[in-house]
């Protein structure tokens, strides 16, 4: 069958891993790519490895979005499991795209959704645990929030509706 997307995308889309909300999460990244309207919530549970480094023990997601957004969310949760926070933060949009295979040009932003979701989840964890936030992460957080605000302003009505849905 001829399909629009690569095998790797379809694999994760058909059988997404780590779907759903996490109960006792340590970090939650809520990301809205309100440009297209897609939304991702990414949860992480942080633990320690044998060497005592902080690693991501578990990750899960909820996505309201396109095929690639779902595939990406699934992919990133599998990639970060067992990684130290530092390692996880090194995952870029380009790395995801490489794993995914060919993606139509207007679908490139979908990969950023997952990366931003992860970095916001880690930020959330640092903030809650009163840890020092790396400069890089702080910068990313500010960009994401700024971006979000601009878009939220533009899609005011939409955002309030989303909130209503969320509160249901």
């Amino acid at each position: 069958m001829n399909t629009l997307y690569s095998k790797e995308i379809m694999k994760h889309f058909r059988h997404p891993r780590n779907v759903g909300k996490m109960k006792n999460y340590d970090g939650l990244g809520k990301i809205g790519n309100l440009l297209c309207g897609d939304i991702l919530w990414l949860y992480i549970k942080v633990g320690k490895d044998k060497k005592g480094r902080e690693i991501i023990k578990k990750a899960s997601f909820s996505t309201f979005g396109c095929t690639i957004a779902i595939a990406n969310s699934s992919l990133i949760t599998t990639m970060i499991k067992g990684k130290t926070l530092g390692e996880a933060m090194k995952i870029t949009k380009e790395k995801l795209l490489k794993r995914l295979g060919k993606v139509p040009p207007f679908k490139i932003h979908c990969s950023l959704l997952a990366v931003d979701g992860l970095s916001e989840a880690i930020y959330d964890y640092f903030l809650k645990n009163k840890k020092e936030i790396p400069k890089e992460l702080q910068k990313r957080h500010e960009r994401i929030q700024k971006h979000l605000k601009i878009i939220e302003e533009r899609y005011k009505e939409y955002v309030s509706l989303e909130k209503k849905i969320l509160e249901k």
């Binding site: 779907v19 909300k21 309207g37 939304i39 979005g65 396109c66």
Partner: protein, 390 residues
């Protein structure tokens, strides 16, 4: 439709397969009756005859004179010819053109371009079902208005405008009235005289004919300029060597539609209503887009809360069902459907939209299959979605 594997095509509004009866007619025009309609010899005359017969057949479907049909290469071309052709031929009488917010991109973009050329465009809003307000139209027509172009049946939500009333208003005010009937031609009865239509776009590949053939009905006496200048084909309105095979196919498709329309309309309405009823009953938080009654016999358009349409279409494709969506995620511009926004859909509503359009080879068991699998797919996607109801 040729059966290759289990696939259910429910995207007839995008394009249709060519009917085998049409293909049969077309075949002789490739290597036997291949002549150029402008040639004097018998090959040319053979082609010419086929062309003129086709004109008659296509025109008869909407009650025109054969000479009032101008064949073109696509619906987009016909729409461009109508707008730009009328605009430039009549600009001494005025520069104001009225369209609706839910036109096909080929009308919207042509109008936008005309705006850049100094024309004034009014875009009439529509109500939540997709109908324009007739009083608004009356008020919008000014002294310098030269053309009103309103889509007959909308390609996304299937809403059918009150075209006779619109025609009457335009006639009363003495402005040209064009309608894009791409989706309705051959599917519902149209009479350009009773409906007071001056120009009408029709397209072969939406009615089981080949791609590459379309037409513009231009009422006798209408002042219009061509887009393509050259050898003077199509009464000087569309120079280009005539694509006789495609046009003969278009005509055969029109002939079949005319013959079968009554029965087919009934059959499709039954299937359409079964699908609508089934979806709304079986799936929680599902909603119908478009008009409950004034809609194409083959069109359904829904929106589902908490899911996104592009991933829904891909899911359906995996199960062999071909559909489409107005979600931003499916458009290269990342914008939700302008039609859904025009009927007042919020972005998240457009985001979860799904269009299923039926056609000649849609069977009741196909509808049953959709009704069987769709609730599960929606459920699956809602499980992934953060907004699912708890």
């Amino acid at each position: 439709m040729p059966k290759t594997s289990k696939r259910i095509y429910l995207d007839y509004a995008a394009t249709t397969p060519v009917d085998s009866r049409v293909i049969k007619v077309m075949l002789s025009y490739f290597s036997e009756r291949f002549g150029n309609t402008m040639s004097l010899h018998s090959f040319g005359q053979e082609a010419k005859q086929a062309l003129e017969e086709s004109r008659e057949v296509v025109g008869s479907l909407i009650k025109t004179k054969p000479t009032e049909i101008i064949f073109t290469g696509s619906g987009t071309e016909s729409n461009n010819l109508a707008l730009k052709g009328i605009a430039f031929a009549n600009r001494k009488n005025g520069r104001h053109i009225i369209i609706s917010q839910i036109e096909h991109p080929s009308v919207l973009e042509a109008a936008k371009w005309l705006e850049s050329q100094g024309f004034k465009i009014t875009k009439l809003p529509v109500d939540r079902h997709g109908l324009i307000n007739l009083n608004n139209l009356k008020k919008a027509i000014k002294k310098d208005t030269i053309l009103v172009s309103i889509i007959h049946a909308n390609n996304e939500i299937g809403t059918i405008q009150r075209i006779s009333e619109i025609g009457k208003i335009c006639k009363g005010k003495g402005v040209y009235f064009h309608t894009d009937a791409t989706q309705s031609f051959g599917k519902v009865p149209i009479d350009v005289n009773k409906m007071n239509i001056d120009l009408l776009t029709a397209n072969s590949h939406k009615m089981y004919g080949p791609k590459g053939a379309a037409c513009l009905f231009v009422r006798e006496g209408t002042k219009i300029e061509p887009l393509l200048h050259g050898g003077g084909h199509e009464a000087g309105l569309r120079s280009s060597t005539v694509n006789v095979a495609a046009i003969a196919g278009f005509a055969e498709a029109a002939r079949i539609c005319k013959r079968e329309m009554k029965k087919e309309v009934k059959r499709l309405i039954k299937l359409r209503d079964k699908l609508i009823k089934g979806v709304l009953e079986k799936i929680e938080e599902s909603h119908l887009n478009g008009h409950p009654k004034k809609r194409l016999p083959n069109n359904t358009n829904f929106w589902f809360s908490f899911v996104e349409g592009e991933s829904l279409v891909i899911q359906l494709d995996l199960l062999g069902i071909s559909a489409s969506t107005g979600s931003a995620c499916s458009s290269a511009k990342l914008e939700p459907s302008h039609v859904l926004l025009a009927i007042g859909s919020k972005p998240h509503q457009a985001h979860g939209s799904l269009r299923l359009t039926l056609g000649r080879w849609t069977k009741e068991k196909d509808i049953d299959y959709v009704l069987k699998v769709l609730p599960g797919i929606i459920g699956r996607l809602r499980k992934i979605s953060p907004f699912k109801k708890r």
